[in-house]
Amino acid sequence: MSGESNEIRFSQKAKDRLAWYLTRYPTRQAALLPALRLAQEEFGHLTHPVMDYVAGQLELPPVTVYEAATFYTMYHKKPVGEHCVYVCTNVTCFLKGADQLLEYLSGKLGIRPGQATADGKITLFSVECLGNCDKAPTVQIDDDYHDCVTTESADRLLEKLR
């Protein structure tokens, strides 16, 4: 193992969280999804050393962790920007102009969906239904939903991230 993996350690807060999760399930593996979320919060994205660390914490074979991490879209396997912008392009948002909105954001940020801006600030994603269709088009920025987004309101939202 490289020196890098030695540096990977949960903060005390994350350790406490994980310990709490482990009390909630009869198996250690059931804490895997929460543990990966914690790891992503701590380390930004899930590198192999990070996943190996999680595997160690849960006493799981690393491959079990890789399998789960690659199955779910919310786990970032590549580095992402400081902020993540998720544009829903599913049916209702599509009916309300989400494709054009995505194109607009893509042009404005100078990146394709899935890419990060050169300054490492923002990663743009096109995602499936966010369960907010009455307020389409929906854009999620980090943990927050934004309703009925227009190019103007999108400009303001991006402004706040700068």
């Binding site: 909630r24 399930y25 009869p26 198996t27 593996q29 059931a30 804490a31 895997l32 999804l33 929460p34 990966l36 979320r37 849960l58 799981l60 079990t64 399998e67 789960a68 199955f71 779910y72 879209t73 919310m74 786990y75 998720y86 392009t89 599913n90 049916v91 209702t92 599509f94 009916l95 309300k96 102009g97 494709d99 054009q100 909105l101 607009y104 499936e128 239904c129 966010l130 369960g131 907010n132 269709c133 009455d134 307020k135 389409a136 088009p137 999620q140 943990d143 927050d144 939903y145 987004v149 227009t150 190019t151 999108a154």
Partner: protein, 430 residues
């Protein structure tokens, strides 16, 4: 105005907090059950009420609970399906954000009825706000002795754990959900065995939708006979209809089951924007086959929509007006299913992808003669033969779109362009 059950008190200040919920009689049903009823009579009342699952399939909750063996060596579990991933669906979020204690009260009653001591609420990962509100409500319950070793002082212990998903539509399927909760990829299991016998951690498990469980306190408080009087035959109660798309007033509307699609769209959701006409409605999330304007006098309940070869599904209506290209819309839907197929069944994995490719080339004006029939035959070929019904859910829209809007598909192939190209959309792009 029809009677509201779930949404009646949503405007009460702090209804999402214990105090607010209690100020409207919250946890009264639980108290009544624990003081005056037995677990068996709670189960019987829910069974009598014919409470049909609001997650998609409409299976009666009381009957499902009845499949759980009364005596088992192992623990039993409840999985609350809060994955809400079906496109066009946004109603469970309303309950979780604004009436989390109603859900928790429903969970406690259900667990007591079935003899369960741990419930997991599987909430989709993107719902961070709802998760925080729900967790705060669960914490309040532990602090007040409503959850924990002695539920409201009685000899009944119950734990509730809020568990976040991580982005995968298939985890809404009940066995995909169970796999995911166990820390694995959410790949559905072959049934049988059904979760009632071999579910979470190999134990007997009930999986119910958020909205389904939120009805339970009301049924216990007011009785099955009251509930049976609301709604339509064999489809009692109200339901949270989510209306989105080309309507003036999209939103969640609580209405009796059996309200017609017409009434939901025109009376409650404000109808279509000025100058637009209805082209179709998807009545229960994108998995539901589309209905044409001459079919909207159908009652939006499980049996009536099934009779129309569609489904009530999640209660999410997506309204489509005359500015929308049906080929483009279907291409978008096909992309969704191709993306969300978990990949373990070859017909689903390959078929959804192939269908998406064919409909996309038709949409781009690159369709070959015979492509429209090919699209339909691909959908027919992968439906009904896979581990879970995602493949059927993918086939339904394809077959119904092609059948009902055939001309539009053919025109894309023969004229190599969209006949609607010059029609301005009802809401121009942003």
């Amino acid at each position: 105005m029809p009677e509201l059950i779930l949404t009646k008190d949503l405007d009460v200040p702090d209804y999402h907090r214990l105090a607010g919920y209690r100020s409207r009689g919250g946890y009264g049903a639980l108290k009544k059950a624990l003081d005056e009823m037995t677990p068996a009579t709670v189960g019987a009342e829910v069974k009598k009420a014919s409470l049909r699952g609001r997650g998609g399939a409409g299976f009666p909750a009381g009957t499902k609970w009845g499949f759980i063996p009364a005596q088992t060596e192992k623990p039993k579990y409840l999985c609350v399906n809060a994955d809400e991933g079906e496109p066009g669906t946004f109603k469970d979020k309303v309950i979780m954000e604004r009436a989390p204690h109603m859900l928790i009260e429903g969970i406690i009653l259900s667990c007591w009825a079935v003899g369960i001591h741990h419930a997991y609420i599987y909430i989709r990962g993107e719902f961070v706000k709802a998760r925080k509100i729900l967790q705060a409500a669960v914490d309040e319950c532990y602090a007040e002795g409503i959850l924990g070793p002695k539920v409201m002082g009685k000899e009944f212990c119950l734990d509730v754990t809020v568990h976040a998903g991580a982005g995968a539509y298939i985890c809404g399927e009940e066995t995909g959900l169970i796999e995911s909760l166990e820390g694995k990829p959410g790949k559905p299991r072959i049934k049988p065995p059904f979760p009632a016998l071999v579910g979470l951690f190999g134990c007997s498990t009930v999986v119910n939708n958020v909205e389904t469980l939120a009805f339970v306190p009301h049924i216990i408080e007011r009785g099955a006979d009251w509930f049976l009087k609301i709604g339509s035959e064999r489809n009692p109660g109200t339901r949270l209809f989510g209306v989105s798309g080309c309507v003036v007033k999209p939103g969640v509307f609580e209405l009796p089951m059996g309200t017609t699609l017409r009434e939901i769209i025109y009376t409650h959701a404000g109808g279509l924007p000025e100058g637009r006409t209805l082209k179709g409605v998807i009545p229960g999330g994108v998995s539901a086959p589309i209905l044409t304007p001459d079919e909207i006098d159908t009652k939006a309940d499980f049996d009536s929509l099934a009779a129309k070869k569609s489904m009530a599904g999640s209660g999410g209506l997506i309204v489509i007006d005359d500015s929308v290209c049906m080929v483009r819309l279907l291409a978008r839907i096909a992309r969704f299913f191709a993306h969300e197929s978990c990949g373990q069944c070859t017909p689903c994995r390959e078929g959804t992808d192939w269908a998406f490719k064919v409909v996309s080339r038709i949409e781009r004006g690159e369709g070959q003669p015979g492509d429209v029939d090919k699209l339909a035959s691909i959908a027919t070929s992968f439906a009904g033969i896979t581990i879970c019904v995602l493949a059927d859910a993918a086939a339904g829209p394809i077959l119904s779109f092609v059948q009902k809007y055939r001309e539009e598909f053919d025109l894309h192939v023969t004229e190599k362009r969209c006949p609607l190209e010059n029609k301005a959309p009802s809401r121009p792009g942003p």
